[in-house]
């Protein structure tokens, strides 16, 4: 058994772009789990207000000009992370998950304001997270929720972006928060309940970790998630699975009444496509545009091309040679059979054909396929549990379409421009709700 330790009580053992296989090796998870249990006890003794205060302090620090972590946030194009860590975001998130009273994670509280019955949320225990490398902030999003619910967190990162989570964990350990009573607490309160590791997929460590887990949290593509789910586990261990899904945008004819309004919608679609390098399950690949507006779907595609150019300017593309080759193929095809708008190089591409229907197979690399529909409700038939986010640019019909789409399996119907935000519910659940056991007294 070979467990590469990327982050532990001594801090991080890997640079952000480093190779996880150069990190210290453990031949058993015993030490890590023992330390995690100790860290979790300190976490349980703390108030959720302190935990929120530490996260908020990190969020504030990581947006300060000149801050080293803020620079890293910028270079990874994950500006969402420090905003997500702010108290104003996390307080409602945890309240939603904990039946409206975040105090339930600290102790017994009334089930309802006037209720005699008390309940509280107990941490599950040891959460083992398997985090994919596609979106660098996934690891932090997963871990912070585990910490706010006072669990111990063992995170197995992927080889790609292996050093990113340890970097942010070590930055979080250095954060301080001064409580209202003047006492200063350290971010180590949080990070002592986290260990980040890497193991080869074939290594026996995977099964050992799975058996230790009180809850398994798996983010990844189908093959990876299935492999994790097939690992042995103890009776009673629960799973949270964030598997592969695809996302799209719907633009209604009412948003195509004139160029200014259509351009605004295009600008928001472009923002969603560029965020997360278009690698998230919530990243759009297909843009369904309704016919019948003053602007045609093709005219909208042209506007979208202009807005993609603007939105792509700040962040360099992250495109593999194989993806670049695939993008060239689509460009040639649409130059010949339809219309194509694209940058010099492979910074972005927008494709349109009157004949296209259905969801496009993702091409990645900031590539959007604009497809006409006669009626926005036609899109409903394309949806299933495999479709995650539908970004909607609609007027009064928004909730009605959201009703129809979510009935078919879509998980989120935010307005365009908000697709990339990680919010709750997510994939059909309030994740922090799943990370606790509800008990009563």
């Amino acid at each position: 058994m070979k467990i590469y330790v990327l982050f532990d009580g001594d801090g991080r053992h890997i640079n952000p772009g480093g190779d996880p296989e150069t990190c210290p090796v453990e031949t058993s998870p015993d030490r890590l789990v023992k330390e995690l249990r100790e860290g979790q006890e300190r976490l349980r003794a703390a108030s959720v207000e302190d935990l929120l205060g530490l996260c908020d302090a990190a969020g504030r620090a990581w947006t300060q000009p000149g801050n080293e972590v803020a620079r890293m946030v910028g270079s990874l194009a994950i500006g969402f992370l420090p905003l997500w860590l702010r108290r104003s975001n996390l307080e409602p998130l945890i309240a939603l998950a904990l039946r409206g009273d975040r105090g339930a994670i600290d102790g017994f509280v009334p089930q309802a304001p006037a209720s005699q019955r008390l309940h509280r949320a107990q941490p599950r225990g040891l959460l083992v997270h398997w985090v994919a490398g596609n979106v660098p902030l996934l690891g932090m999003i997963s871990v912070i929720q585990g910490l706010l619910t006072k669990n111990a967190n063992l995170v197995k990162v992927s080889q790609q972006n292996a050093g990113v989570l340890p970097y942010f964990l070590s930055a979080l350990a250095e954060v301080t928060f001064r409580r209202p009573d003047g006492e200063e607490i350290s971010g180590k309160l949080l990070t002592d309940a986290v260990r980040a590791i890497y193991t080869d997929r074939e290594d026996a460590a995977g099964a050992a970790l799975s058996v230790l887990a009180d809850m398994r949290v798996a983010w990844g593509g189908r093959e990876a998630v299935e492999a994790i789910m097939n690992l042995p586990r103890r009776f009673g261990t629960e799973d949270i699975v964030f598997g592969p899904k695809t996302s799209f945008v719907v633009v209604g004819a009412e948003k195509l009444s004139g160029e200014p309004e259509a351009r605004k919608a295009a600008m928001l679609v472009a923002r969603d496509a560029v965020a997360l390098g278009q690698r998230g399950c919530n990243s759009p690949h297909t843009v369904f545009v309704e016919r019948g507006g003053a602007l045609t779907p093709e005219a909208f595609a042209a506007l979208l091309g202009e807005e993609m150019g603007r939105a792509s300017r700040q962040v360099p593309p992250d495109v593999s040679p194989q993806e670049s080759f695939r993008i060239m193929g689509w460009r040639a095809e649409y130059d010949i059979k339809g219309e194509a708008w694209y940058s010099e190089g492979v910074r972005w591409s927008v494709f349109y054909s009157d004949e296209d229907r259905g969801l496009a197979t993702p091409c990645y690399g900031r590539t959007l396929f604009v497809r006409p529909v006669d009626n926005i409700f036609d899109v409903t038939a394309l949806c299933s549990v495999n479709t995650q986010t539908a970004g909607l640019a609609l007027g009064d019909r928004r909730l009605k379409l959201a009703e129809a789409l979510t009935a078919r399996g879509v998980e989120r119907c935010p307005e365009v421009g908000r697709m990339s935000l990680y919010e709750a519910p997510w994939d059909g659940m309030y994740p922090m709700d799943r990370m606790v056991r509800w008990v009563s007294a």
Partner: protein, 380 residues
């Protein structure tokens, strides 16, 4: 005579620096004009690049290029159907969809002549016995075997006689080392050099590896050549690189002057082959030029920098495969250095372009998820 015909009348390798480039540019321009006039989709695409087909070409790297995968996606033809004499399908290595290109007589003649002169430059113009490192494909044999042998067909026009080194047996393929040894003994007695030819992985897996396991070493007639092609993907999985393959080929075949050539080429520009010098370095003949493009900016890269390989040639007449970018990575080693009296662009193939990284929850789903279903009528 047009520039294209003039170009293909010349011997394959330049004997003076840059002597052929003006003619190649003129021939490529002539080819572009032809395909724009005869292939509507190509004309549409070319003009969308903002270029005039009649414009002079000053720099081949500025010629608009198509990704080779376009022949998997679209049917691009520059001759009437009645003139098509053959349809080629690629091996579809990186996707399930094969490329489709149509050949007319002109294209086929250019392919055959080009292949013949490059082969002659590699091993002399005298026809010689070819020993194919495969089993003979009998009628009704399995499709994979037939496809492999079909891929060899062009090379076999240089053969005075053809022998097959392997035998299909019980659903597998076996080497009869004793039979091969006897064949080499007879050919050696005639002092006839032979050409051993086959796919790279077949050479290793079915010939070299069994001979090494059996501790055998076969004497090849003087002047013999070993030619292999098809890429290294399968051998990389077995940790076999060029140095090891060459070393083990020399271990099992006794050759007076070892001549082991790895040949690079692709269906969409069939006839143009790029044999290496034994060390992976290849020289572009005067009929084509190689460009290396940055995968992100798509600009041509300075010599030495790795990027996507592009090949430009006026050879295809029946389809517009003039400037094609491949999903193979490579780099230019030198230009017009004149090694062995041959000038031109020398390059290396570095292997298939790196695939996309793990995409986690944003990964693609099974293809059927994206297929259009019958649209349900839902009232708004």
């Amino acid at each position: 005579m047009g520039a294209i015909d003039e170009l293909f009348m010349l011997p394959p390798y330049a004997t003076r620096p840059g002597e052929h480039r003006g003619l190649l540019r003129a021939a490529v321009r002539e080819a572009i004009q032809f395909h724009c006039a005869n292939c509507g989709p190509f004309d549409r695409w070319y003009r969308k690049q903002g270029l005039d087909p009649d414009a002079e070409i000053e720099d081949l790297a500025r010629v608009p290029y198509l990704p080779v995968s376009v022949f998997k996606r679209l049917s691009l033809e520059s001759v009437p159907e009645v003139e098509v004499v053959r349809v080629l399908w690629s091996s579809a290595t990186s996707s399930q969809t094969p490329s489709r290109v149509v050949l007319d007589r002109t294209t086929r003649d250019r392919q055959m002549r080009t292949l013949a002169v490059i082969m002659s430059a590699m091993m002399g113009s005298m026809r010689r016995p070819f020993v194919v490192l495969d089993a003979a494909a009998a009628q009704g044999d399995d499709l994979e075997l037939s496809a492999r042998v079909a891929g060899l067909r062009g090379y076999l026009m240089m053969a005075s006689e053809t022998h097959y080194a392997l035998e299909a047996r019980d659903g597998g393929i076996d080497l009869d080392a004793a039979k091969l040894e006897e064949l080499f003994r007879k050919l050696s007695a005639r002092r006839t050099p032979v050409c051993l030819i086959g796919y790279t992985y077949m050479l290793y897996q079915y010939v070299v590896a069994p001979l090494i396991r059996g501790g055998r070493r076969l004497q090849l007639p003087p002047g013999s050549t070993v030619i292999h092609f098809g890429g290294w993907k399968r051998l990389e999985q077995q940790a076999v690189d060029r140095a090891r393959l060459n070393s083990e080929v020399e271990q099992v075949f006794a050759m007076d002057e070892p001549c082991i050539r790895d040949v690079y080429g692709f269906t969409e520009q069939l006839g143009l082959i790029y044999p290496d010098d034994g060390n992976g370095v290849r020289l572009a003949p005067i009929y084509s030029e190689v460009v290396v493009r940055d995968p992100v900016t798509l600009e041509s890269l300075p010599d030495g920098m790795p990027g996507l390989l592009e090949f430009i040639t006026p050879l295809p007449h029946s389809y517009p495969g003039i400037a094609l970018v491949l999903d193979d990575m490579g780099r230019i080693v030198s230009r017009d250095r004149g090694e062995n009296g041959r000038f031109g662009t020398r390059f290396e193939v570095l292997g298939r372009a790196r695939g996309s990284e793990i995409r986690g929850c944003g990964d693609t789903l099974p293809e059927q998820i994206y297929q259009v279903k019958e649209v349900a009528q839902v009232q708004a």
